[in-house]
């Protein structure tokens, strides 16, 4: 105590803010913050003053007005009599749909390519290198345009399927037609429906899940009996019965049948029509992002020390099992964090959809709605907000997953 009391008390002088190393960094930070605030304030006031001068009053009331335009691909009900907000939702659902599809396939493609690139098979490894380098080094927009152009130019128009001796033929017993606009597929229908196709489908899924659970219980019981007595009871016929009979019975009860696409007028009607731009965007996004994921997976695998796989071989594990049981689980810790940014990239890259007529959020809200209402500032603000929220949600989900696979240190 006495020592501190006797220490000379340096009186604080203003100059110390600049010359004393203890205070200097704080001074600089505060000055920088003030300059930043002033800069932002200037921009904000400039915007407000100029918007005011233009007589522009930001307003979001256009969202409740009638949209008046049609959208070519929609997963939720929408007609031109709905509001701009509904059109926004259609675009949002389309964006989420393609992003989810893309993330799943990009992961599958990426993991496969990443693992195969490390294969001892020279041809396969080089092929994968070729794939990664070609697709990664050409801009995504070009790939989308090329894939879309191929799908449009190399396939016949619906008109070619017409007549007694048509130029093009449907595939798979006259059930699938690949045209330059869409792929026409048979649609599942129920003649004795419970209400709508959705409820029927949900019931079917519920029944299948229930059968799976019951089957698992049966297999479990068999294992228990095997442990107790050493003799495993035969379960295959029980499993078959449990897995298939309820689902088939339900399908028969509901009158399940397919509605086949039929050429009528200009286009096929009946069945499901999956537009080409969906395939082009899906393929483009997954193949392009897949290259990045492949590299991440490869680096993740290489990050696992060789001793691990050598130990697994020494234990007699075959290469496939070594990869799936020993190497990949450890590689995941390295792989997951950079994967988050790839999923985010894919989602954000889906805004290129408008280039090939896919009506995503940028095309509906940021394209047609913006143009028809002229509310550019509001539309862009809304879009930025929505994409920010989507990205943050993806980050959150992936971070939670990352926490579950990360090394548990006890």
């Amino acid at each position: 105590m006495a020592i501190t009391d006797n220490a000379p008390k340096a009186s604080f002088r203003l100059g110390m803010l600049l010359y004393d190393a203890r205070y200097r960094s704080i001074t600089i930070q505060i000055l920088f913050l003030i300059a930043l605030m002033l800069g932002l304030g200037w921009l904000a006031s400039n915007a407000v003053v100029n918007l005011d001068k233009m007589g522009y009053v930001p307003s979001f009331s256009f969202l409740t007005q009638r949209a008046g335009y049609d959208i070519s691909f929609k997963l939720i009900d929408y007609t031109h009599d709905d509001t701009h907000f509904r059109a926004l939702l259609v675009g949002l659902v389309n964006t989420l749909f393609i992003s989810a599809l893309g993330c799943i396939t990009a992961t599958i493609i990426g993991v496969t390519a990443g693992v195969l690139r490390l294969s001892k098979n020279w041809v396969i490894a080089r092929l994968m290198t070729l794939y990664v380098e070609i697709f990664r080094n050409v801009p995504l927009l070009l790939w989308l345009l090329v894939i879309f152009a191929i799908l449009t130019e190399a396939t016949p128009a619906p008109n070619a399927f017409r007549g007694a001796n048509p130029a093009a033929h449907m595939w798979l017993w006259h059930s699938v037609a690949v045209t330059n606009r869409y792929v026409a597929l048979p649609a599942p229908l129920f003649s004795r429906s419970l209400g709508s196709v959705q409820t029927d489908m949900l019931t079917l899924v519920a029944v299948i899940i229930a059968s799976l659970l019951v089957n698992r219980f049966v297999v479990h019981r068999a294992s228990a009996v095997q442990y107790a007595t050493g003799v495993r009871p035969t379960t295959w016929w029980k499993s078959l019965l449990i897995l298939f009979v309820p689902a088939i019975a339900l399908l028969v009860m509901l009158g399940f049948h397919f509605e086949y696409p039929v050429l009528k007028g200009f286009n096929f009607s009946g069945g499901i029509q999956a537009p080409n731009f969906v395939f082009a965007l899906w393929l483009g996004l997954s193949i392009y992002t897949g290259t990045y994921i492949a590299e991440i997976v490869r680096s993740g695998i290489l990050a696992v020390s060789r001793g691990q796989s050598e130990a697994a071989y020494a234990l007699g594990l075959r290469p496939g099992r070594t990869m799936s049981l020993v190497v990949l689980p450890q590689a995941l810790r390295v792989i997951v964090p950079p994967m988050i940014s790839q999923f985010l990239n894919l989602t954000k890259n889906s805004t290129l959809a408008a280039a090939i007529s896919y009506p995503d959020l940028t095309a509906t809200l940021g394209g047609i709605t913006l143009n028809q209402t002229g509310r550019a500032l509001e539309c862009v603000l809304l879009m930025m907000m929505i994409y920010l929220i989507i990205s943050l949600l993806i980050s959150l989900a992936m971070n939670l997953f990352n926490r579950s696979v990360s090394l548990k240190e006890r």
Binding site: A47, G68, N180, R181, F266
Partner: protein, 338 residues
């Protein structure tokens, strides 16, 4: 994070909206060049030729205004705009004048705060199909896939037309005419819809234009007009009366060939007032006496511009129709110069 977005957007707005408050005329004069928004490429209306020089019906308006204001029809910077970017370009001050076959509508005029300076082409929306499709009327297009340029009035007209006729269709939203052309020629859509003048211009660019027909139905009114920002009446007046001068010149027989002759003085006082040999109309909006003379000399009167770019003798081959002078049964009618 919402705050970050908000600030970011304000930054954008601040940067975009920071045009000076000086009058457009002073700005253009000080800059020495007119920034004119045109189509990215629509043969006949606005497209760069093989030497990169812009020509076309809309381009002629830019040239006339530049000649009137700056004294030289070549002092124009052409800014290509798409259907989507055109209005933002104008309201942000990137361009002084938008001459890009844009339809004059209530909401664009009132809500988007623009001033349309007068119709220079009366158009209507139509459909183009392949001849071998055997379609002769738009009413037979039920169930068709239709290519449409997004961000245009045509998109709304199309929905309305099919609704009134209780037909269905699949829209393919495209961004530019070039993309639409590719889709249409590949047969990815059965019909292409836009203004009939645009269809004619597009068809002129096809390899085999005769394989395609434009259906007779006109499903909307599309009065195309150049436009400027609202709030600068002097500038709007200059553009409006430059257009009127071109139209009046055709009515009174002033052509690029005889303009020098006529400028020496005629017996018609209206011609003298337009060409500045009598009175000084130009001074009323900050220009000199001979503004209209230069505007007309730039690429001729309205009729000459029409015939040179989109008339029957060009590949586009549009008849005058509604766009003939009022004395010829059309709607082109310039108010008096006095």
């Amino acid at each position: 994070m919402n705050r970050t977005v908000f600030l970011g957007a304000l930054t954008v707005a601040g940067l975009v909206a920071s045009f000076a408050s000086a009058s457009t005329l002073d700005e253009v004069k000080a800059r020495g060049v007119l920034n004119c928004g045109v189509n990215v490429g629509l043969v006949g209306f606005a497209a760069p030729d093989a030497n990169g020089k812009w020509t076309g019906f809309d381009v002629a308006i830019c040239k006339a205004v530049a000649a009137a204001v700056l004294g030289d029809p070549n002092k124009v910077k052409y800014v290509p705009t798409t259907g989507e970017t055109r209005f933002t370009s104008l309201s942000s001050g990137e361009i002084d004048l938008l001459a890009r076959n844009s339809t004059w509508t209530f909401s664009r005029d009132v809500d988007l705060k623009f001033t349309f300076t007068g119709v220079n082409y009366y158009d209507g929306q139509g459909f183009m199909v392949r001849k071998d499709l055997g379609v002769t009327s738009a009413k037979e297009l039920g169930g068709a896939t239709i290519c449409i340029q997004t961000g245009t009035t045509t998109e709304l007209n199309l929905a309305d037309y099919f609704k009134t006729h209780k037909m269905t269709y699949t829209p393919i939203a495209i961004k530019t005419d070039a993309e639409g052309k590719q889709q249409f020629l590949a047969g990815a859509c059965d019909a292409y819809t836009t203004d009939r003048s645009g269809l004619a211009a597009l068809r002129a660019g096809f390899e085999k234009p005769d394989d395609y027909v434009i259906l007779p139905e006109v499903i909307s009114k599309e009065p195309l007009s150049p436009l400027v920002r609202q709030g600068d009446d002097q500038w709007a007046d200059i553009v409006r009366w430059t257009e009127n001068a071109l139209i009046a010149a055709e009515e009174y027989g002033i052509t690029s060939a005889n303009i020098e002759e006529m400028a020496k003085g005629t017996t018609n006082p209206e011609i003298n007032r337009i060409l500045g040999t009598e009175g000084n109309l130009g001074a009323m909006f900050g220009l000199d006496k001979e503004w209209a003379k230069r505007a007309i000399a730039a690429s001729g009167n309205y009729g000459e511009i029409f015939e040179a770019n989109i008339g029957v003798s060009t590949p586009i081959g549009l008849a005058r129709g509604l766009n003939a002078q009022w004395t010829q049964g059309g709607l082109m009618y310039a108010p008096p110069f006095r």
